[in-house]
Symmetry: C2
């Protein structure tokens, strides 16, 4: 139904190629003809058939994004920004939410490969690197977001997770916490990095984690981790040496933990200080406003988009590029035990 090059060509008594050349600003077209063609294109509201074009050029002007949970503000923010950035250059974005399910994610990646996207961005829930070898085999460039995989050297954009752990833990120490616990996430790079940072910061303050003070959120099935945080914090509060500061893997976990603390009749931050990570936009409005390490999701989104566009244009950096965004801490009531310094 929509207009084709052929229609315009017939209307004007020209050949299809001539029209195509006008479309792409090819030099060897006379000024008069060019104007006639452009006029007719406007009249018919001509839109090139991108499927036909990509069939021959090999480029689809399409980018794929796979995230574990689109409902999570961190990923939503990234998705929103990437969408906005790549649109400016004429790309459209396939987005899909894998629900933290490695199998679903693999399916989705396969689907995107079949669609011949020009680049793929993945915040992965995979445990193995096998899938990525497949992508490499198809020579489609890709970028990992947020989570890295051991043994896989590839483009990466995400926060510096070790720095996250250091920032949060040092802050708690500086606020006078003596027994700082950590509620850690699952066995993925982000959680491991933050745990490392936590350990490192404790060491530089001449502390060590007390036994039982590193607990893991269970795989309780709620993606956001609120329940996991509640349960983990309950465990912590029951331990012999009750912690007076908790660094939580992320904000939802911190919410759960705070609820557990309040439910136990304790005060935040006087009895237990809490720091989360993610700096979700509602952190200001909580019962106790939550201190949180901001992962710079906006910067991540922008950098990822820029890198993706570069790769799409085959300005591929020879060696895979890894961009570590430095986090920063936003202090709110949940961890403020001293009058603001300075």
């Amino acid at each position: 139904m929509p207009a084709r090059l052929k229609d315009i060509a017939n209307d004007l008594g020209l050949s299809v190629v001539t029209i195509s050349k006008v479309l792409r600003n090819h030099p060897d077209i006379g000024e008069a003809t060019r104007k006639r063609v452009l006029k007719r294109m406007k009249e018919l509201d001509y839109q090139p058939n991108l499927a036909a074009r990509s069939l021959i050029t090999g480029q689809t002007w399409t980018i794929g994004l796979v995230v574990p949970d689109l409902l999570h503000p961190f990923f939503a923010q990234i998705a929103k920004l990437i969408s906005a950035e790549v649109r400016k250059k004429g790309y459209s974005l396939f987005i899909s939410s894998s629900d933290e399910d490695p199998e679903l994610e693999r399916q989705e990646i396969k689907q995107l490969l079949a669609r011949r996207v020009d680049v793929m961005l993945i915040a992965s829930a995979q445990w193995t690197i096998e899938t990525f070898r497949q992508i490499e085999q198809q020579k489609i460039p890709y970028i990992l977001l947020d989570r890295q995989l051991a043994g896989l050297e590839c483009n990466f954009v995400g926060v510096d997770d070790r720095a996250v752990g250091v920032l949060a833990t040092s802050h708690l120490a500086e606020q006078g916490c003596k027994r700082i616990a950590h509620i850690r996430g699952p066995e993925v790079s982000t959680a491991i990095g933050r745990l490392d940072g936590y350990r490192q910061a404790l060491a530089s303050h001449r502390m060590t984690p007390l036994p039982g003070h590193i607990v893991s959120i269970g795989k309780s099935g709620d993606h956001r981790g609120e329940r996991g945080g509640y349960e983990a914090a309950t465990k912590l509060l029951a331990s012999k040496k009750r912690p007076d500061g908790i660094f939580c893997f992320n904000d939802p976990v911190a919410l759960g933990a705070m609820r557990a603390i309040l439910d136990a009749g304790l005060r935040i931050p006087e009895d237990v200080a809490v720091v989360g990570c993610g700096n979700l936009s509602y952190s200001d409005f909580l019962r106790v406003p939550l201190s949180s390490v901001d992962q710079g999701s906006k910067i991540i989104g922008k950098r990822a988009a820029a890198l993706a566009l570069a790769l799409a244009h085959n300005k591929a950096p020879l060696r895979p590029k890894s961009e570590l965004i430095p986090p920063h801490l936003v202090v709110r009531a949940s961890s403020l035990r001293l009058p603001a310094a300075k």
Copy 2:
């Protein structure tokens, strides 16, 4: 680089068509050949080139979704669900966030039209119906989400906004509020519907809105409306007859309003009860847990996806179908002035 039908055909000494027939389970292929072909397909990890296929079939197996703000949990939830539902049937989803900008939205719609998506889903920020006439002209089916437009008869899936207003306002009245105010949203169908419901509920409780008790959030530029809510509530609290109940257009606005109320030294819900709309997942964790009307975003997502799939398969309902989802109220502390009934 990826394998083509031709490659398989050459390898096995068959014609391309035979391979294509196997691919599509065409009956006239012998069992032995079929197996040979399938085997080779697996070996090469063959993925059909969807661009080539859509060029000839006219179907792209692609769906477009445009929302005003992907960061808003309501839209994120819908996007996530639609993505999951349509994936099951082999569709991929283009998602883009228009930033509440009608012009950007129009561009994006144009882009999706050029891509020949099979269906389009739009939560629109348009003021006029012109753009949609264009879509109709291209004969691409579309569905409006959440927001309707006057004078446009088309497929729609969204919450029953009038019912939202009635539900929230009646609840406040039943909780003993005598001066119920409303912080309304911008001039779009959702805000208008909720305002209608508010008026209707007041009337059925033999009340009328006091002068100055319907205020609008300014276009303060923050999409979520927290600042607008704060300012609007401040105005309300300064009015001659201070309201003792406020129905807020949505949850972010309610958050802003609650902060204004607390900042003014008043208590929630004793002095002023508050009800929002959206039932955002963090409502439980707020300083005062927020009562909120749930819009059933999950149901909206599922219904929208189902309708989209039906349209994509050309099982087009003769007349455009409008699905109004009934909302329900989730009562929390911010509006609970009486001991729980029953």
